[in-house]
Subunit: 183 residues, 2 copies
DNA sequence: ATATAACCGAACAATGAGTTCGGTAACATA
DNA sequence: TATGTTACCGAACTCATTGTTCGGTTATAT
């Protein structure tokens, strides 16, 4: 990819995340983004069809970043998905989220987290569904599978929200414990 | 209240709910609302400061409607909040929601339910907090109270969402059972 | 060295938000 | 029934924002 394209794209994302930390998505204008990113108007529209697509691509990038990083750690340490420690997948997720590599936390500030978390939930659901055997219990037998998957996924996201609202003061280990107690 | 004011207000709400059933809140314009409601532009703005306030007032009205109706039933039948049947509060909520008196279900269609449910959750949280003793269990001892309240509230809302997505084909009794199994 | 592709910037039309104002009709009160 | 008040109409208006266009300029790849 052309270095110019890459720099422009990064400048837009940076400006966008900065603005998201301050105000709601709906209130952010394209004018503000291009001013902060210091690029021309036409350039913005040559990169992103609309403001909504910008958000969508940002969410995708963050999401991939989290799961790719998780995947790498998995390969290096080789102790994830250990059947004796089913909670390790989620522990790693919480750990990675706390690292806040790409200012993810700013995106997750209470105003806009709904947007990313919705996206997050849709994809996390697939992971949960594929790892459902980890959650077998007395409860799961009495509930429809789709309800059960949806409940686990939602509980993860709600746990994450609670953690963020609490300034992430607890350790990832503690949060993982809360998650498995709740679910 | 002046009959003219009441009629105008109702026409606006009606048009707004109709539109919400078809498209996302962000895509609805004031122009569409006043066309459908068949009123003047200035009239709209004399009733509602902005489109956002219209949504806020609609949510408040729906929310009050649900809880007021619940309150009446409570007075008439006198068997809610029976300590032997802690689930009855939530059963009544599910029952009332299924009745769909004011086209609530259209507002809760998957596109926009996030908005109302957020509002719903904020207020339901207070109810849960005041009735927390109903949920005492092995789990609750090990979790911070604020986490526990937030989890119960979220699980209720997520259960409701799942029910709506499933066309509300289950009975309120079954859903109440699912809710108490999950939480 | 040269062709290509990205960027600039300035202008443009189109849309929607929210306001203003003079005229009309419905309401409450006496 | 007469009168003053208040809500509504409708049409025009300003303003902010969106998304597009185009000719000129600069960075990049080969």
């Amino acid at each position: 990819m052309d270095r110019r394209q890459r720099k422009t794209r990064e400048a837009i994302f940076r400006a966008f995340i900065d603005l998201l930390a301050k105000k709601d998505f709906a209130q952010i204008t394209v004018g503000e983004i291009i001013d902060k990113a210091d690029i021309g108007r036409a350039t913005f529209y040559s990169h992103f069809e609309t403001k909504d697509y910008l958000l969508k691509e940002l969410c995708e990038e963050l999401f991939c970043h989290i799961f790719d990083a998780m995947h790498e750690e998995k390969v290096n340490h080789k102790h994830i998905f250990d059947c004796n420690a089913p909670e390790s997948v989620f522990l790693h997720l919480f750990q990675h989220l706390k690292k806040n590599d790409n200012n993810i936390l700013e995106l997750l500030s209470s105003q806009n987290n709904e947007l990313f978390l919705q996206y997050f939930k849709r994809n996390l659901g697939k992971l949960v569904a594929s790892q459902l055997y980890l959650f077998e219990s007395r409860k799961s037998e009495k509930l429809p599978e789709s309800f059960w998957i949806s409940h686990i996924t939602s509980t993860f996201v709600e746990t994450l929200k609670w953690w963020i609202d609490n300034k992430m003061s607890e350790s990832p280990e503690t949060i993982t414990e809360y998650f498995f107690l709740a679910v």
